[in-house]
């Protein structure tokens, strides 16, 4: 093959490649394949974090259950940890890391709840949630709390944040609905979509209020939802949640993606309470003023203006919504002009993320897709059950080109998490295929010809407070030809958690001129002339 053709072929290769041996034989279950109940469609969540402290990213896989197991009174399948060998190959962790199965696992969040420098885990369920403490990198232990819900409620995503700035990580939990077997009609009842019998919900079922759990210190929590005024007049069907400081006032706000109901933007008032401002700030509906069925959420500073923008994945017939920040005034939806509105209209999106995956200095994104109704394959639906996953390659002027995320047939995908699992500097991806394998997708940025000259920087923070990983800190990197601000968070995507770090693609810049950190405490750190292609760990300065 001539060299030019070879280069063209490489350039046209999808950004990610499946790496089946990296996580061989790991599958999850979420009910039966015919999906007669809404309980059976979300799939389980994922988390990438360094749980054992060996410097690489380990993987948590949350698993579900089946209605037959529930009927027999058996627990669901357990949440599992897979340890990274440092080269991005995962192996099941030892018994010390085993988590006793609960009813039906959904999502997870990662944060250091007791300030001991080890990342702990929260797992949402249909049923009582689980708080899992990390025993100094040697294993997990369950921590029993009163505020973890009852058997009927259904938690989906969760996000750690220090909303009251007391230095301890609190927790927001997105709750979906009250699901009681025997009270929800199965598909074939009165529930129809595009003329086909489908499972019922969420409309017609009772939405659950979200929770805000306040950390009382040492990792114990109390329900602070009412005290913090996080309860709207009407509960909504929450599926995704993410932290951000949208108005850059120094406290952490919360965005919640709701299914078939307007999305919430909870503005932290700085006095321990929140105010819901989604409609005022332009992120509750699409540009038509229609509520959508929000699933996953990504946040990132697309245009380098220091303010993070929002990307929300939605149901088929609705476009994925890209909301560009206008600072404290809020956001404006620009999905169409960005080039992702139209192509996402026939997709049903879940896991998503905004990062510079190709390391060219511009943010990219992806959407994992797959319908909730197997009946989507019937005529007249304008969509399908299995769907291609989309990569949104960042272009100049805030536009994106839509490309296949990876090669292969369409799949029914759900949750995702991102992180540099093989330590090569680009961000890899792990994805859940519903009732199928957990997929490791290796980023080709550093191995492609174009990626050889691309540079990157990872920034980890260590705070002096019990919020050791500095969730909520803002990191701004400035390099020749670019600048970007990123919040250190672990929430993001759908029902999933990402590593607590900021990652920057630098294009051809070999060094970062300036890194500025605004710590949750309000302190700042500045580093200048930092070399690229490395992990920088920054300690919080003394007052």
């Amino acid at each position: 093959m001539p060299l030019a053709s070879l280069c063209l072929a490489l350039a046209q290769s999808p950004q990610f490649a499946l790496d089946p041996p990296a996580l061989a034989g790991v599958r999850t279950t979420c009910g039966a394949r015919d999906k007669r109940f809404i309980l059976e469609v979300n799939g389980g969540g994922l988390a990438l974090a360094d749980f054992d402290g060996d410097g690489d990213l380990d993987l948590v896989v949350v698993d579900g259950s089946t209605l037959e197991r529930v009927a027999r009174g058996e627990p669901g399948f357990p949440t599992r940890l897979f340890l990274n060998d440092g080269r991005g190959q995962f192996a099941a962790a030892t018994e010390a890391w085993a988590i006793a199965p609960s009813r039906w696992g959904m999502g997870c969040a990662v944060g250091d709840v007791d300030g001991d420098g080890w990342l702990d885990l929260y797992v949402t369920h249909w049923g009582r949630d689980q708080l899992v403490r990390n025993r100094d990198g040697a294993g997990f232990e369950l921590r029993e709390l009163a505020c973890l819900g009852d058997e009927r409620r259904w938690g989906t995503s969760a996000a750690f944040l220090d909303f009251d700035r007391d230095g301890a990580l609190d927790l927001a939990v997105a709750n979906y609905l009250t699901f009681e077997l025997g009270k929800v009609p199965p598909s074939g009842g009165d529930c129809r979509w595009k003329g086909h019998d489908v499972m019922c919900g969420p409309q017609g079922l009772a939405a659950e209020h979200d929770w805000l759990l306040r950390n009382t210190g040492e990792g114990s929590f109390v329900d602070a939802t009412a005290a913090a005024k996080l309860a709207p007049a009407s509960a909504a069907f929450a599926l995704g949640c993410i932290t951000l400081d949208y108005d850059r006032d120094g406290d952490t706000d919360l965005y919640v993606a709701n299914d078939s109901t307007p999305n919430f933007l909870w503005d932290n008032q700085g006095d321990g309470t929140f105010r819901e401002v989604g409609l005022q700030r332009g992120v509750s509906h699409d540009m038509n003023g229609k509520e959508q069925a929000g699933m996953g959420i990504a946040v990132g500073d697309i245009n380098g203006d220091g303010r993070e923008d929002l990307l929300v994945t939605n149901f088929s017939g609705e476009n994925n919504a890209l909301y560009l920040s206008r600072g404290a005034r809020g956001f404006v939806e620009r999905s169409g002009p960005a080039g992702i509105g139209g192509p996402s209209l026939t997709r049903l999106g879940w896991g998503t993320s905004l990062h510079d995956f190709d390391l060219d200095g511009r943010l990219d994104a992806f959407a994992l897709n797959g319908h909730v109704y197997p009946q989507a394959d019937k005529p007249g639906t304008d969509t399908s059950y299995a769907q291609p996953a989309d990569f949104y390659r960042g272009l100049p002027e805030g536009r994106f080109a839509v490309e296949p995320l990876f090669e292969g047939a369409p799949r029914v995908l759900r949750a995702s998490t991102v992180g540099d699992i093989d330590g090569d500097g680009d961000l890899d991806l792990v994805a859940v295929e519903l009732d199928g394998p957990v997929l490791v997708l290796r980023n080709r940025a550093r191995t492609s010809a174009a990626g050889e000259g691309a540079h990157w920087l990872r920034v980890e923070l260590r705070s002096k407070s019990r919020n050791r990983f500095a969730l909520g800190a803002q990191v701004t990197a400035v390099w020749s030809g670019g600048r970007r601000t990123a919040e250190v968070r672990t929430s993001g995507g759908f029902q999933s958690s990402v590593p607590p770090e900021a990652h920057f693609g630098l294009g051809s810049a070999e060094q970062v001129e300036r890194i500025e950190v605004r710590w949750p405490s309000g302190r700042t750190s500045v580093l200048e002339q930092v070399g690229s292609n490395r992990l920088v760990r920054i300690e919080e300065p003394d007052a």
Partner: protein
Amino acid sequence: MKRALAVCAAFALALPLAAQTSAERAAALELDPARLPRAPEGRWREWKPTDKLPDSVHDTLGRAFTAYRESDYAAALVHLHAALAREPDFPAALYQLGVTHFRLRRYGDGAKAFERFLAAAPGELGATQGLAHCYYSLGDYARAQAHYERVLAVAPTSAEAWRGLGLALLRQGDASGGLARFERALELKPEHADALAWSAQALFELGRTGEALVPLLRSIELAPHEPRPWFLLAQVQSELGREDEAERARTRFRELGAIEQEVRAQEGLLLYDPRAVEPLARLLKLHRAARNLAGLGEVLARAVRLAPRTLELQSESLEAADALGQRELGAQLAAELEQRFATVRAAWEALARHFAAVGDEPAAERARVSAARL
């Protein structure tokens, strides 16, 4: 779809519907238009909408149009498929197939039908803005734009096509181009409430916020029940620093938005079960709450055609007739209500409200007394 319907209206048939089994209707919904039999190439090239219908499909098409007019889209598909089996690619049937799929919100199938229509009868390009609507609804804005432009090249007086073209451009980030097309639509149809609202959206996106108010307020004046202009008005007022007005607009948007969401859900039910009584009654209530008189009139006409009527549908129909000032229909519905539900307290309560609304206080009082007795 106005011009689209004009083609169908040329046939002006109104034959009674033949009863169909649910299996036939379900099978019609399962059929991909691409699998319909094909005619030899050029078979209908000289076809004109004014041509006499072939005898082989005359009755079948008539039934299809009747079903369509009665919003029984699955039944319309059954007849259209039968017509197309007898006369493959007959353009009028293909066209109506596209329109019917569009109404069913099956845009992919709608596009296939319209594309086949255009292939069979290329001279009728000007009537195919429905195809562009389908592309737009599938998110293919570039293709929608191209087809709107083709349509407008031969039918430049279609306000709907100009509006559609404006939307396709706006969705692709060309707010200036979109605005120019919305303004062209408004030259042709100055009271086009939707084009007014979209021109305001384009002005807002261009940063001409103050200018956006004029078309926006006019749009609200023409269609006060539509939530989207209120949604935009809240943004515009907020941008202009008028937070009190913005909050008032948000409040109205929330009210109308909640109603519209339920309207969409109920309409969705009726698409596939056109004789369902509960959604019709609910729609009457919702349109009345939103003061959507056009919507109310449409649903009322549909409800009046339907039998048997439940107490709820009969009562809601009566309220709707009163709200629309349709005195004669109201009197007829009141008489029917009294006759059918004379032993039901809620019926007399509805009659009392009706008589009070039409100023017949003695009758209202009699109805109140009857209600009190039950």
